[in-house]
């Protein structure tokens, strides 16, 4: 069941020049509504003169012990810049949980290699998904890409749930280049790939997966007006016609998309 509720900021830390990690909890310490990996929330930014619509942000992590929802936010416009200024004790109004979620690996053989590829702010949903996969007994492998080492975020967190490989465009961390050129992809022995990031990156991963017959899910970030299936603005043209990314996605199996060339 979707809810509109005010959560309270328990922490907001600036991770680098443009990213912050916002932690939210309930005001009355009642448990957070259940949220699944791949789902997102819609944030109401109430202190920006130019931000009218809510802003969709992925669930980055759920800290069950502390009853905290984590949002990894990249400040790119006024809405996200305001989020970066939220302070402990501030209330934030959210719609949640929204969207579908990642589906578990098709094969239930827990020894199968499962790859989670994140680029830029697209690494956000991978942390929570990796943690759940690990909990379920899988050994997820993370492949994370960024411009430069300072943009590679939450590496310690990722390391808790699986092996972490990185690429940076300037070579300051991991292999130099894009995630799609990383050497671990040379041996296509992954049984399942999940990816979120810039569209060109996801398309390249999708094509790689398709070529090697690997099941692959991508998480789309089409622009949204509502986030819960009523405005029909966020559509993706799939094999079953135009569907809403906010309800039938954001996670899609690449076989349903018209991406493969």
């Amino acid at each position: 069941m979707k809810k509109m509720l005010d959560l309270i900021v328990t922490d907001n830390s600036q991770l680098n020049q443009s990213y912050c990690l916002l932690k939210l909890s309930t005001t009355n310490s009642s448990p957070l509504p259940e949220m699944f990996p791949g789902q997102f929330v819609e944030v109401h930014v109430t202190d920006s003169p130019t931000t009218f619509l809510r802003r969709p942000i992925s669930v980055n992590f759920i800290d069950k012990e502390k009853n905290e929802l984590w949002l990894l936010v990249q400040a790119i416009g006024d809405g996200t810049r305001r989020m970066a200024t939220y302070k402990k004790g501030d209330l934030v109004n959210l719609l949640l949980p929204l969207g579908n979620s990642f589906t578990p690996p098709e094969s239930s053989d827990k020894k199968d290699r499962v790859l989670l590829v994140g680029g830029g702010v697209g690494t956000a949903p991978m942390l929570y998904w990796g943690s759940i996969l690990k909990e379920e007994g899988y050994s997820p492998v993370f492949l994370l890409g960024a411009r430069s080492s300072k943009d590679l975020l939450q590496l310690d967190e990722f390391a808790k749930y699986g092996d972490v490989y990185t690429t940076t465009e300037d070579g300051s961390h991991g292999e130099k280049g894009f995630v799609t050129n990383h050497s671990i992809l040379e041996l296509p022995d992954f049984k399942q790939i999940y990816t979120c990031g810039p569209k060109p990156m996801m398309m390249a991963i999708a094509n790689y997966a398709h070529k090697h017959g690997i099941t692959c899910e991508v998480s789309l970030e089409n622009t949204m007006a509502c986030g819960f299936g009523v405005c029909l603005c966020c559509i993706e043209n799939t094999t079953r016609g135009n569907v809403c990314v906010c309800t039938e996605g954001p996670v899609f199996n690449i076989k349903d998309l018209k991406w493969i060339n």
Partner: protein
Amino acid sequence: MDKLNIQIGNLALKNPVMTASGTFGYGKEYTDFIDLGKLGGICVKGTTLHDRQGNAYPRMAETPAGMLNAVGLQNKGVDYFVSNIYPEIKDFDTHIIVNVSGSTIEDYAECAARLSDLDKIPGIELNISCPNVKEGGMAFGTSACSAADVVRAVRKVYNKTLIVKLSPNVTDITEIARAAEAEGADSLSLINTLLGMAIDINKRKPVLSTVTGGLSGPCVKPVALRMVWQTYNAVKIPIIGMGGISSWQDAIEFILAGSSAIQIGTYNFIDPTISEKVVNGIQEYLDNHNIAHIKDLIGALEV
């Protein structure tokens, strides 16, 4: 809540608060957030005779205090509605109005006819003002003559409450309003979206796939309010006012300007509980100002 009931054609609304077509899905998307039974009515998605895929992505651009949309009436067609959606929603404890659109007069009439048999659909809203489709749509709503043609054709085949939704993209909305009234419309709803545009200066391309789209949200409120007031002074049938309503105060403004009922559109996206809040706010306003009935407020602007 007796102070709030209002009559629109044959429709007895429990209160004047409705939700606007294209912003409220089929109502069921909101049941997590509010009790639909609290609302006067809901206008479900624009429905056409045949199934439509709508326009290509991108369909949305945020604008100052509003948004542009270019959905283009994506829907599965009236038959799908009748057989698949209607059964799911017909038992909501509120009035369900279907918003009807078409590319030709025949389409409108045929679509309306197929809806007229549905027990729990007491009325339709004729959308002669959609700016997002190539043929038909707004074209019908921008001349009194073609508006009259559509309304006449639909009135012939549709006996229940017929609401005609007007376009704001005209020099004189009262002309179209009078034409629709003369052809037997029971009520007029206004405004649909204003035709607008947004440009991505980095790509040097329109933001919307269709170049132009429909503007809605608080930014259009002053224009909408003016048109409601002009129309109120031009026709006798009840008016359903909308355009940028985001609070009960806005709703009161529309009622004072001459709306018998109001619809809330875009703001449902920002606050999916807004419609219920508006019902409560109107109720309190009446109580606080000792107003015996909402009717006493309709068009009660002192000028």
